[in-house]
Symmetry: C2
Subunit: 461 residues, 2 copies
């Protein structure tokens, strides 16, 4: 694998094609608290009116106890969506200590006793909202949380089968059989570590933002290459796909108010007080109004995947818990994603209604068994924030990958240039690349990860 | 389609091969309330010690307002699991009135004005536990609930696109566009009707069992053929599969304490009082004991798909909310399924801890677009209760279907005989049919539904 720090570019006055206004982040008709209720809310900041954070975007990955980063390709373009680029990224080598020693000894130990470390690679994209603060904190923190979580279970990960007791002590002779019957494998410990790391990072962000008086949240998409497998953990609406010669495979699902409708409605059903009497839990095709009263209209509740009709009552006229359609769907009229980090202080405009109870910091993790793939040189994983996928489909990205890579085999930076090309193709420079010449006005970040070199780490590529 | 009442056979002393005891329905080490706590519980009946119901199995489908049943194939065999056969089945034509008229006019109207009815077919399997009472009630009730729910939305179903308002009244000119953007189709109304019908039927069963002092619950697997589509609704551990010449496709998923672990743990996390301090919400590879105290052992909580290690505390030694492995997994040490109808009174043995809050009556519905399939004469759907799938895999059933049907083309009862043959193949009569000559001791019910005649209903087959 070609080594090199990832590059980050800001194009504050980039060559954008059209004077169209930026894609709105809040719904077309955002929730407005009824006038007679305004004034009593005292939320420190909201998605519509975030307090400008004091921090600046950090331009290098976190240091801390991590060993030098050495691989990955990222392009981040700020398409004037916000004053600060709300996208952040991090990547590098992940070194997991297999035994206890002091922080200052790490560097030396890794040279002297490499077998005392389990090494992997880490790539992460964070798409911020309400300012870049949470995304910056996540880019600086999540890999440390993950390393800590992995080090806590590494002995189980390197065993043939994770032992019932981490100490390896045998209390019940049939313990290995119980573990076997549950089908628990080393990869389940990595999944568990990723889940815990996201939650730990979310807590750190909550504390740091509160201490510094800042606000905001971010999505998080992480890929980890470890022990011949690629783990993709996603909380938010970024996406990772595998592109091979004859295959395009999604490696993540998006978590939005629409995709998580039933979970969100269910929570409001269990805790109606979270809506403070200002929202309706039910879903209708559009927001209802006085003329709909008494009519039987289409609706869905938390337990329904199908639709039915109900007679409209006065309480159904409230603003819907989830409102809008597709990319415009908003949770509590405020947020376009339903999982991510941060947002501990986020409230609905002019109210005390908190968003956080409806948000999950826990990611969904998928595992790609790279060692089992018959890898070809141009097999890659493409990770990108939502701006790319707003404009390009998985198939379109795959076509661009397949047309770009074979013609650039001699270029040692071709994966980085592919990432750049993918972003440029969303900027309206070539109408043939996107359907109907669509253009993205969002911050966009892309990683292109060549799997072939991942699979051949030891061969010196 | 060959018409005929479905046949139901009871083989109370059938030719069973081995003297092995029946497969236990409760876990190998069932939950026992600690002795010092016993006596205060006053549950009217539990899965381990059900009160024998007074009712007898009903041998004909419900009458009520349903028009004559006329199609379907079922074999039900009681393999001495219980004194009463806990499996029940129902099938027949489903006639949905498109306008209002009196009950006594239905029969005449259907002859005079068939266009005033939307007709379909209905097949249902119910696998009871704690006695046959709930399964019998479900077999007699669910189709009526479904007919009522479908009649409530039939005008939306037959429209080109379900209207925002059932009355068809236009309040907002862009209403059709809102419905279009949400992607709401006629099939979503059928899915919604199935979801509502299961819940309505569950309420009816709860009332009827309470009024008659009976107990019990049942799983429910329903297939409905309507407007060129086959809807499969499942709540429990029965299964339906599509078998074609070159394809085997699952049409349902099973709902057990294992497959619904996260939902069940999540509920216990939100309402810890449901466990009354006697169970632990966490999952471990086995039940913990005193020697595990202080050790770091493998565990999972509600938010985790992966595994991690935790230091064992005293509260972790309680009986697990979900215990046992695979087919032996039990919810609260009592029940092997996590969705179904009934069980309103079911409590953990010797306690007041109720099972019902953890059970869902709502089914998962899948839709098979039969009209879009290039149907061949031997394409069938096989529906069966869990006893069949304990012994035969989907692929094994498909092989039996494909070997049986082509050789029996002249036999007008061949689908019925195929159902019979599938059941016999689980009774140990031919070791070559199942892996390692496995035998089922459970009640087993099977429907074989020929799709070819479904697709050609109007051609008079």
């Amino acid at each position: 694998m070609s080594a090199g720090w990832f590059r980050r570019r800001f194009l504050p006055g980039g060559p954008l094609p059209a004077p169209r206004p930026p894609r709105p982040r809040s719904s077309p008709v955002p929730y407005r608290r009824p006038r007679f209720l305004r004034g009593s809310g005292s939320g420190p900041g909201t998605a519509d009116a975030p307090r400008r954070p004091d921090v600046r975007p950090v331009r290098s990955p976190a240091r801390g106890r991590a060993l030098p980063w050495n691989a990955g390709y990222a392009e981040i373009i700020n398409a004037e969506k916000s004053e600060f680029n709300e996208d952040q990224a991090a990547c590098g080598q992940l070194c997991i200590r297999r035994c206890e020693f002091g922080a200052e000894e790490d560097q030396e130990w890794q040279t002297l006793c490499p077998e005392e470390f389990l090494t992997g690679h880490y790539w992460a994209l964070f798409d911020g909202h309400g300012g870049p603060a949470a995304a910056i904190l996540a880019a600086n923190t999540l890999h440390s949380c993950l390393r800590r979580q992995l080090e806590a279970v590494v002995e189980g990960m390197v065993a043939t089968q994770p032992p019932m007791h981490l100490s390896g002590r045998s209390i019940c002779p049939s313990d290995p059989q119980f573990v076997e019957e549950k089908g628990i494998r080393a990869e389940d410990l990595v999944i568990g570590a990723l889940e815990s790391a996201f939650q730990e990072c979310d807590e750190v962000i909550g504390r740091e933002l509160e201490a510094s008086g800042q606000v905001g949240g971010c999505t998080a998409l992480v890929a980890v290459s470890l022990q011949g497998k690629l783990y993709v953990a996603n909380a938010g609406d970024s996406r990772a796909i595998l592109v091979r010669k004859d295959e395009v495979r999604p490696l993540s699902s998006e978590f939005t108010p629409e995709t998580e409708r039933q979970r969100i409605q269910q929570l409001a059903f269990v805790y109606p007080e979270l809506l403070a009497g200002e929202f309706t839990r039910l879903e209708f095709p559009r927001r209802l109004k006085g003329d709909d009263l008494g009519q039987k209209v289409l609706f869905r509740d938390h337990h329904m995947r199908g639709w039915s009709y109900k007679c409209v009552e006065k309480s159904d006229l409230k603003y819907p818990l989830i409102h809008g359609q597709g990319r415009q769907a908003r949770l509590l009229g405020t947020l376009a994603v339903s999982r991510g980090l941060g947002d501990h202080q986020l409230r609905v405009l002019d109210t005390n209604i908190q968003l956080k109870p409806f948000l999950l910091a826990v990611p969904q993790v998928t595992v790609l068994d790279v060692d089992q793939l018959e890898l070809q040189e141009e097999d890659v994983v493409v990770m990108a924030t939502d701006g790319l996928w707003d404009v390009l489909s998985n198939e379109q990205v795959a076509r661009l990958v397949r047309s770009f890579l074979p013609g650039n085999r001699e270029d040692s930076h071709r994966f980085s240039e592919l990432a750049q090309m993918l972003i440029h193709s969303t900027q309206g420079k070539d109408d043939s690349l996107t359907e109907e010449g669509q253009v993205s006005y969002d911050d966009i970040s892309v990683f292109v990860i060549p799997l072939h070199s991942q699979g051949q780490r030891s061969s010196g590529h």
